[in-house]
């Protein structure tokens, strides 16, 4: 019976804790407006999610500190674990919280696609700051807008640069068999062919594959001018290394999916000279870029802003502006996004077009030189 007594006492202590805990949580300030970030705060892409959330947080902190707002903005965040079903649950949670007036959700495109109907259903704005498939804003949903650069802006630029600047007339496409890799390939091919380029092979791999030697041996025999890799960091680094291992000197080109510092480290010397079309701003090219970098450091976040930080910061700036103009009203905010012509963000003065894309979009080419991603200039 000794265990029983002990357990009973513990239960009593716990019950007391429950009551006390409840009392503490009840006390809360009233004049608070909530905006939300939903993204990969757990799971495989956590670094990106946290960097973006911190950047939104920074914009909101600055607005609160300015003292010009009649209310206090609070950022709440939910994880989507990079999984559609978790994302849907998270968005439903936001929808059911009447204090939440706007959200910036999802870094992973499949998750963002999955939650569109839920944002629509509860009339909540989703100002996308990470997911980059085109289909998000082509469905005519008023609740979806985007600050980051979608593939529709990137891939034509890549095709043009390959043909005109780099004189690469044939490519072999190596793509990951997921939404991201496929979208990067499907959007590129027609643009490239239109300009006279030729795609000599299109090979897919599964995310998590480690050995590309067989695939690359096959591609090597076709002698393309370049290999276009549409995928993410790990696989890109492995492809770069294994290309050299097989004696291939063919250049590796791609898009921002693997334009990361991890690629630089993981590919070693094999990655040198890789060329990507980038949507990730070189901060010194942005009107508010260097100031952002400095303030982010000053704000003492534990984690770096990562590549999508600037977009998160821009989303935060847009949130503040919308709240200032329309107050805590979901409907007015959704309407206000496309109406206003002058959003002052880290990217300069911009406006949202009819499909909900913040214009102008940032696009550039980058090359890996001396273990650093630098702008590709002639």
């Amino acid at each position: 019976m000794k265990i029983a007594t002990k357990a009973g006492m513990l239960a009593a202590v716990a019950a007391a804790g429950l009551i006390l805990g409840g009392a503490v949580i009840e006390a809360q300030d009233k004049k608070v407006v909530k905006v939300a970030y939903v993204g990969p705060l757990t799971g495989p892409n956590t670094a990106m999610g946290i960097g973006t959330r911190n950047s939104i947080e920074l914009a909101i902190r600055e607005a609160n500190a300015s003292g010009k707002l009649p209310f206090k903005i609070e950022l709440i965040s939910e994880t989507d674990d990079s999984k559609p079903s978790t994302g849907v649950a998270a968005v439903q949670k936001l929808c059911n919280d009447p204090d939440v007036v706007a959200a910036s959700a999802h870094w992973n495109s499949p998750v963002a696609l999955a939650t569109i109907p839920y944002f629509q259903q509860c009339g909540l704005l989703n100002l996308v700051s990470g997911a980059s498939v085109d289909a998000l804003t082509t469905q005519g949903v008023a609740e979806i807008a985007r600050v980051n650069t979608p593939f529709a802006n990137l891939l034509p630029h890549l095709a043009k640069s390959l043909i005109n600047t780099l004189n690469i007339k044939t490519v072999a496409i190596v793509k990951s068999r997921d939404a991201f890799g496929e979208a990067g390939s499907a959007g590129f091919i027609p643009e490239y062919q239109k300009l006279g380029g030729k795609v000599v092979a299109e090979e897919g791999y599964n995310v998590g594959d480690r050995d590309f030697t067989a695939l690359l041996t096959k591609v090597r025999a076709l002698r393309p001018d370049a290999i276009y890799l549409s995928g993410l960091t790990t696989e890109a680094a492995l492809v770069a290394r294994q290309m050299r291992q097989l004696g291939m000197q063919t250049p590796l080109v791609g898009h921002a999916g693997w334009q990361t510092t991890t690629f630089v480290e993981a590919s070693g010397t094999a990655g040198e000279g890789a060329i990507v079309v980038t949507s990730l701003p070189f901060l010194k090219d942005l009107p508010g870029g260097e100031a952002f970098a400095k303030r982010y450091v000053d704000a003492n976040f534990k984690e770096p802003a990562e590549a999508y930080g600037p977009f998160g910061y821009a989303a935060g700036q847009v949130f503040v502006e919308l709240l200032k103009r329309h107050g805590a009203d979901r409907k007015a905010i959704v309407k206000g996004v496309r109406e206003a012509k002058d959003f002052e963000t880290i990217f300069g003065k911009g406006r949202f077009d009819a499909s909900g894309e913040l214009q102008p979009k940032y696009v550039d080419m980058a090359v890996l030189k001396g273990r650093e991603w630098v702008p590709l200039r002639k």
Binding site: A14, G17, T42, P84, A114
Partner: protein, 388 residues
């Protein structure tokens, strides 16, 4: 049978009280889960687990659960009615109804796996593959214009066939080999979903899956009952409740028939059973197919309630989650499986702040349970003579 079930004889007032108590269980727990703070929930879970350390309490709990989950039990009606009252308690909050619907969907799968793992001791590490099969078959059929109910039957049939094929591999191979076959099955299904783009739209998944429509009322419409307006998620909740009830009924009918007795005997001593003229390998195949079919309704409802499916929702982790539900709840105990699914599927939603440590806790819990409570939190009282 326990005294709770036979309580109608001694006095009317006592039985009414018990009836009301049983009726209150679901709405009350739902309300508590909804309004409690995460920290409080954590404390509550710890308290419950500590309480279950007391052997007498644990025995009583599993006896009530087991007695209550026999097919003739008088406990089902009040509990079911109580569950039906949950949306009225939670309204207008649709989010928690959605969470409970998901828990019920996983409970359906766990019932199926329980037949395989709990009843005949076959490890299936590919249940997510069956789940995916059901979701995609049902979705592709409804997108072709087949009514949802027929599509769900089709999906269930597809799962049954897949289960039978898997089962055929078990005819000649032993347990560990079969575990690998199911592991491989799960991986293959995932890869095929990703790669057969013409059929499944690849990793982009299928968007805009139509809502389920019943007499012109769709699951996207708000539900009006007794003049009260319930959020649209209540539709899904009731559909899941209906499906789950039917599946529980089916599972129990089988368990408490001659089939269930052969299952138990097969798990204990296959050679002994075959001496009595049972064709054990064939019986095993049928049982695996039967258990797999449970994924049919689960996958179909999942696809149509979320409205979007992609291969990422059907990975090894989901298989392990279902496995954990069965092991936690108590292998072979239908009531335990239901409680297990609530604990494992609802608590994490509340404990989102634990985030990254969730999977670690999952794994550690699995190991600890297998060592200290190999029969689960609520062991099946019929199994006192089992080896494990």
């Amino acid at each position: 049978m326990s005294s709770v079930v036979q309580a109608s004889a001694p006095g009317k007032s006592r039985s009414t009280a018990i009836w009301l108590l049983l009726f209150a269980v679901c709405p009350l727990s739902a309300a508590i889960i909804r309004f409690i703070s995460p920290v409080q929930l954590l404390i509550a879970v710890v308290v419950v687990c500590l309480a279950l350390l007391i052997p007498a309490l644990r025995r009583a709990a599993s006896r009530v659960l087991a007695a209550g989950s026999s097919p003739g039990s008088a406990m089902w009606l009040p509990v079911l009615l109580g569950a039906a009252a949950v949306p009225f308690v939670l309204t207008p909050d649709g989010y928690w109804l959605f969470v409970f619907s998901m828990a019920m969907i996983f409970a359906m799968m766990a019932l199926g796996l329980n037949v395989q793992l709990g009843e005949i001791g076959v490890v299936n590490l590919g249940f997510a593959g069956l789940f995916a099969l059901a979701a995609y078959v049902c979705t592709l059929l409804t997108l072709k214009g087949v009514p949802f109910w027929l599509a769900m039957l089709g999906a269930t049939f597809a799962c049954w066939v897949a289960g039978a094929l898997l089962g055929l591999c078990s005819r000649r191979t032993s347990g560990d080999y079969f575990a690998l076959v199911t592991l491989g099955f799960g991986l293959i299904v995932h890869q095929l979903l990703v790669n057969l783009r013409w059929l499944t739209n690849g990793a982009d998944g299928i968007t805009n899956i139509p809502a389920i429509s019943i007499f012109g009322h769709t699951t996207k419409d708000a539900l009006k009952i007794f003049g009260l307006t319930l959020p649209p998620e209540a539709n899904g909740f009731y559909l899941c409740l209906l499906a789950l009830s039917v599946l529980v009924f089916v599972a129990l009918r089988f368990r408490y028939s001659w089939v269930g007795r052969i299952w138990g005997a097969m798990r204990q001593d296959p050679i002994g059973v075959s001496c009595f003229g049972v064709d054990v390998p064939s019986f095993r195949v049928t049982t695996i197919a039967f258990g797999s079919a449970f994924a049919g309704p689960a996958g179909s409802l999942f696809a149509h309630l979320i409205g979007f499916i992609s291969p990422d929702d059907f990975v090894l982790l989901q298989s392990i989650e279902v496995l954990a539900i069965v092991i936690l709840g108590g292998m072979g105990n239908v009531g335990g499986v239901l409680v297990g699914s609530i604990i494992l599927m609802v608590t994490p939603e509340k404990l989102r702040f634990l985030g990254d440590y969730r999977l670690m806790i999952y794994g550690a819990m699995l190991v600890l349970l297998l060592i200290y409570r190999p029969k689960g939190l609520f062991p099946d009282p019929r199994r006192i003579f089992d080896k494990a």
